[in-house]
Amino acid sequence: MIEQTVMRALDFTLYYGDFKALNSINMEIPMNSITAIIGPSGCGKSSLIRSFNRMNDLIANMRTEGRILVDDEDIYSQDVVQLRRKVGMVFQRPNPFPKSIFDNVAYGPRIHGVRDRSRLAAIVEGSIRDAALWEEVRDDLDKSALSLSGGQQQRLCIARALAVEPEVILMDEPASALDPVATLKIEELMGKLKRKYTIVVVTHNMQQAARVSDYTAFMLTDPERSGNLIEFGRTSDIFTKPLDKRTEDYISGRFG
């Protein structure tokens, strides 16, 4: 079976000033699946995931070569607002705004022009339900988001990302600041979300990649400290019969 591809990197190279952070990355992100990007610290996995929604644009002296396509369209030939609407992001540390739970989730829809109160309420409820948080906060929507626990805050951030109906959700180590129970909840949630969305997750936790993802990309730095994609394939293949010796060394815990 051939899956549809949502995002595609073609010889994508990223520079921060003179430093080449990513070296000619080629990969395809299949639709309605979870793709994990793993690798040791500093291998460029965060740089790569932040390229997909152009968050690296914020860094001065950044430039790129090659292309990244989302829905067959170059990310640099489309409006960044539209791109980020299609490709949402959840960050490593939960970062809800210091506003109410409702206003956090309603932030995106409001920005994109939804004014109608009942429609906003419906979007907020739907998104919080999809993020498996509704039962815990249904009576407290007016409370400050900062009063929630870390795990709840992260699920709220996921709900906030869902509220603009993205196609892809990028998650940059979404559970690394959370305790094991909260981590498990996020992982379960990811499994549910992939029915509607495509998820790309950066993690340095190999067990997590093995548990939740369908595809795995393994990255490593070359002698110039640039990030390279070493191997990409089905998670079951990468973890049982990796083609590259370096992948095998990494997943068997010989380094990293």
């Binding site: 607002v81 970062n95 809800p96």
Partner: protein, 281 residues
């Protein structure tokens, strides 16, 4: 071992003494003014105008009105300018590519630093030359408010800068990642989070306008009549204290006015503190 303990003791006691002295000085000054001043204060004092002349008779009603008028007018000018400049310096200035514009920004930063240390009478002379004389605004609330704006803008810019820098970048990232543009991010996320710090700067500025004398001596004139328009001359409470103390025999009235001034500043601080707390929740 014992020597280290002694050093520690010594350091702590020095700090305690410094702290105690500060509080003591504050209490003595405020206490003196309030005790001496309140003896003369009654309702009439608030509701009658000064009568002028050497005797210093009359109350302070017109000076209260002039003070409030001047504070509001100054803040109306200074707040948008100062907050806007602060936002520009923190959120936009670093992304500028052109060399020339970068030089300008560096110059602006240097200017803000320097202006903050300029004595208020310098702004007064400048205000006199430009607003009172050259632009023919005369001694008026308008001239004084414009000069006052020059005086307090550095304060507002710097507190705005500090407040914006204290907003975590993760808020900005989260907003941008939702597809918000830079201005939406600033307006809806960054500014609401920074509102407490910014209003602190505004309170400080209001306090500065209430307490300065020299700058308004040469821009506001000194008329003890109640100001009726932006073009009216007037006399703030601080100026009135100065006039009473230096040009009349009513030193006790100066103390009474000073007592009201002190209470006003305390109340001002309390009000805006609670407003900013209310805004930030």
């Amino acid at each position: 071992m014992i020597l280290r303990k002694i050093k520690q003791r010594l350091a702590f006691s020095t700090m305690w003494i410094a702290c105690g002295m500060t509080v003591a000085i504050l209490l003595v000054v405020i206490g003196y003014v309030i005790v001496k001043g309140f003896a003369l204060i009654n309702l009439d004092f608030f509701f009658t105008s000064p009568r002028g002349g050497l005797s210093g008779e009359g109350g302070i009603s017109s000076t209260i009105i002039a003070t409030v008028y001047l504070v509001i007018t100054t803040l109306v000018f200074a707040t948008p300018l100062g907050v806007g400049a602060g936002i520009f310096l923190v959120e936009y200035a670093d992304n500028i590519r052109s060399r020339f514009a970068k030089k300008l920004v560096a110059l602006a930063r240097f200017g803000v630093e320097t202006l903050a240390g300029v004595p208020s009478i310098i702004f007064g002379l400048f205000g006199y030359a430009l607003f009172v004389s050259a632009l023919h605004f005369g001694f008026s609330i308008l001239s004084a408010a414009l000069a006052g704006t020059c005086l307090v803008i550095p304060v507002i810019i710097r507190t705005t800068e500090e407040a914006l820098k204290a907003v975590p970048d993760s808020y900005r990232e989260a907003s941008l990642a939702m597809g918000a543009n830079k201005w939406e991010t600033i307006w809806k996320v960054v500014l609401p989070s920074a509102i407490r710090g910014i209003s602190t700067g505004i309170v400080l500025s209001a306090g500065r306008v209430v307490s300065e004398t020299a700058i308004f001596y040469v821009t506001l004139g000194g008329s003890y009549r109640t100001p009726t328009s932006l073009m009216s001359s007037g006399r703030t409470m601080a100026l009135h204290v100065y006039y009473l103390a230096m040009e009349t025999r009513a030193f006790d009235k100066a103390l009474a006015t000073a007592a009201v001034l002190v209470v006003l500043i305390v109340v001002l601080n309390l009000i805006i503190n609670s407003v900013s707390r209310w805004l930030s929740t």
